[in-house]
Amino acid sequence: MIPYVTRILVKSVVTLFAIATVTFIATRLSGNPIDTFLGDGLTTEGRAELIRYFQLDGSLWQQYLAFLRGALSGEFGLSFVDRRPVTEVVGDRLWASGQLLLASVGLTVALSIPLGILAALYRRSWVGSAVMMLAFTGYAVPSFILSIVMILVFSYWLNWLPVVGNATFAHFIMPTIAMSGVLIAALTRFTRNAMLDVLGQDFIRTARAKGLREARVVLRHGLGNAGVTVISVIGLQVAGLAAAGSVVVESIFSWPGIGQLLVNAALIRDYPVLQFGVITVAVAVVIINAVTDLSYALADPRIRLARS
């Protein structure tokens, strides 16, 4: 187990280093912050003065080394715009994004596992078909379309739900559904397929032959063994959600999280915020992946043994 954990840690560090480097290069290629956030009308001399002030006058290599040195000592610099440490700027937004992510994962697990089991058990009836149709539809609708349609129906026409911010429980409803829509669809399909695979196995027939109750057969023996597949899909999809889903949904619903912050920082080329924001999301993704890998091992001793 220890070599397995060590390997995951090394892999995570290498991934983070690669992401930090790519982010650094990508931000520098996208344009100069001096041109965007200070507006039109700077003289060349004025621009040069500001470039010096914001310490953007070194070569890319020098800037990169300074960035790495800072990162290793936990110093990620100040936002170009509000001149606060980026750790503070991003930290302020972490909890809001975390809440939305947890709500989305909670809703996904709560809905898609029962729906997947239902679709597997009733695969030849209308119940199974209906669940799968919903799942395919959900998978095909991107979160920004789902968001705009929900806003139109539940806010613009019916005036039932608020659209701005995260002040109350009601504020969570639409963003959570928008974030988890695709995830619910995906996980429902995977749960169904995994259950179908498992339910066709000999040991299930044996369990039934022993006279166990159907609920126990399905939940204990069926879901228990389908769990590895389901966990892997949850891990992958949640990582994707943390990385990309929040950017769109948070912008649409003015959710004060990291996604919205990253969009703003990208528009005005606030490099330090963008770099640290992406690294923070990357850390979240790496942690989720690592936890998923470890969960595999815990859920299935064969994996643990094979990998060690």
Partner: protein
């Protein structure tokens, strides 16, 4: 399900219920910092007037400048280059400090003798004629100019010289006796002024809350509290207005106006922004050195058609680089820019244009409708025989010698041609320093007369000469003044005032009323 919806809707509505005299503004953008000195962005300009004062103000309900006392009660020129101002007594900053002559001198000299680079940049382009301000006694100060100044009141009422507290600012970081760069940076997150609303909460890029300042020296603010929240997405802003989460929303595009206007509970207010979207052309690009080619590039563009197609006819297409806000210097009869495709063809033939490709750079989203305008311009160029190509890139190319043409904007930083053309196209100004615009001694002399003459007629005549130069050897074509709209509930009486620079959210007494309060 219905019950759940109803319950959650009620839960949502409770914290949103607004007391009388409290409004929420859904803004497309909320500033990441609040410092009137260094800021001249469209985002920041929304917020300063409610919290800060200048020494001299103007009646913003009028298009023509009418100067009114603010933190100075009177002012006079005691010499052609020295203005003496008497300070208002009994003025209090939001932190409780009394405003003194020292605070005023500190505020003025933080710009006029700037060392903080963001201030240096702003001071150079508009306050360069003012070397310093000095305190005479506790109620009197003097501002010195290098040369006779035709725009005293205009420049002393700029956002950049709004008054801030000296002791508070210096004590924000480091040595409390010294104004360090870090003090000004800290101030931008904890701003303090003398205006009718104090900043109660500021979450950069997210939220700003103003509270009525009871010790304001002037007429009490009409609102107790104003919440400004960032709602970046247009659909969400309009919906927030409809659901009651916002009372006013900013930046509504022309094609979205009918959504609001068709709702009996909501309305819109708008105006042509005091800012030009322009096309710039590189005078020094080897292929564009012949001015006839650039004249043709300009004459081929049907700006009225762009206005109709992109702005539903609500934008303003100028005949020269002028705006109605410029008062006596507004010259609407002057024709510098025209649509004349036949003349464009003739000029191209005369110049021996051989069909080489002219690249037009644009960022994908920086200017509203910028990319669409660029694409339409390519069609218009094609109609006269110019082979054009749109190049979409985020990177600013105005300082690239290879740049041939691109979009840009010329805002009106203050209500004078000097505040727009005068800043952007000054000798050694932004355009020349980037190497795409040439001036000579003759141009500098004209610009000098236009900038510094104290005789309005001489200034106007000099401006005509400058425009003749622009026409003969074009480097810029103002396309239009974009149309900007705000949406609001019917219960709000508010509209942008003609005397302000673009985008100011003025909620002072006389600027906004709520029906029933």
């Amino acid at each position: 399900m219905y019950r759940l919806m109803l319950t959650t809707a009620l839960a949502a509505a409770l914290p949103l219920a607004v007391a009388a005299q409290e409004i929420t503004v859904g803004a497309a953008n909320v500033s990441s910092y609040l410092d009137p000195g260094r800021d001249h962005s469209n985002v920041g300009s929304q917020f300063y007037y409610n919290s800060f004062d200048t020494l001299i103000d103007r009646d913003h309900s009028k298009l023509d400048p009418e100067w009114v006392p603010a933190l100075a009660t009177s002012w006079e020129l005691i010499e052609p280059t020295i203005m003496e101002l008497k300070l208002r007594q009994g003025v209090t900053f939001h932190n409780g400090d009394a405003m003194t002559a020292d605070d005023v001198i500190f505020s003025l000299n933080r710009m006029m003798q700037a060392t903080f680079p963001p201030y240096v940049v702003r001071a150079k382009d508009r306050l360069a004629n003012f070397p310093m301000a000095e305190k005479i006694d506790e109620t009197t100060i003097r501002i010195h100019a290098n040369r006779e100044e035709p725009l005293w009141e205009t420049l002393i009422s700029l956002q950049q010289v709004m008054i801030i507290p000296e002791a508070y600012t210096k004590a924000l970081t480091g040595d409390p006796e010294v104004a360090e760069d870090s003090d000004f940076e800290a101030f931008a997150l904890a701003p303090v002024g003398t205006g009718p609303y104090k900043v109660e909460t500021f979450q950069p890029g997210e939220k700003l809350v103003w509270e009525r300042f009871d010790d304001f020296w002037g007429e009490t603010a009409p609102l107790e509290r104003v919440n400004v929240v960032q709602i970046a997405e247009t659909a969400s802003r309009i919906t927030a207005l409809k659901t009651g989460e916002a009372d006013i929303v900013t930046n509504i595009a022309p094609d979205q106006l009918s959504l609001i206007d068709n709702d009996p509970a909501m309305k819109t207010a708008g105006s042509a922004t005091a800012l030009f979207h322009v096309m710039i052309m590189n005078q020094n690009h080897p292929k564009l050195e012949d001015p006839r080619i650039r004249q043709a590039m300009s004459l081929a563009i049907d700006r009225d058609a762009l206005n109709e197609a992109l702005w539903l006819g609500k934008a303003v297409v100028p005949s020269t680089h002028t705006m109605a806000e410029m008062g006596a210097l507004h010259q609407p009869d002057l024709v510098t820019f025209e649509y004349d495709p036949e003349r464009a063809k003739t000029l191209l033939a005369e110049a021996g244009y051989d069909g080489f490709e002219i690249q037009f750079d644009t960022a994908p989203t920086y200017y509203t409708n910028g990319l669409l305008a660029a694409q339409a311009i390519m069609e218009m160029w094609a109609n006269v025989g110019i082979k054009g190509k749109v190049n979409v890139q985020d990177q600013w190319s105005g300082n690239d010698p290879e740049m041939m043409a691109r979009n840009w904007s010329n805002p009106m930083y203050f209500a004078d041609p000097f505040g727009s053309f005068g800043v952007m196209w000054a000798p050694d100004g932004p355009s020349q320093s980037e190497g795409r615009f040439n001036t000579d001694a003759e141009y500098a002399e004209m610009w000098d007369r236009f900038r510094y003459s104290t005789d309005v007629e001489i200034r106007k005549a000099a401006y005509v000469e400058l425009m003749d130069r622009v026409k003969a050897d074009p480097a810029v074509l103002p396309l239009y003044r974009p149309f900007e709209s705000w949406g609001m509930k019917n219960s709000i009486n508010w509209a942008p005032m003609p005397g302000h620079i673009p985008y100011v959210l003025d909620f002072r007494a006389g600027s906004i009323t709520l029906v029933g309060s």
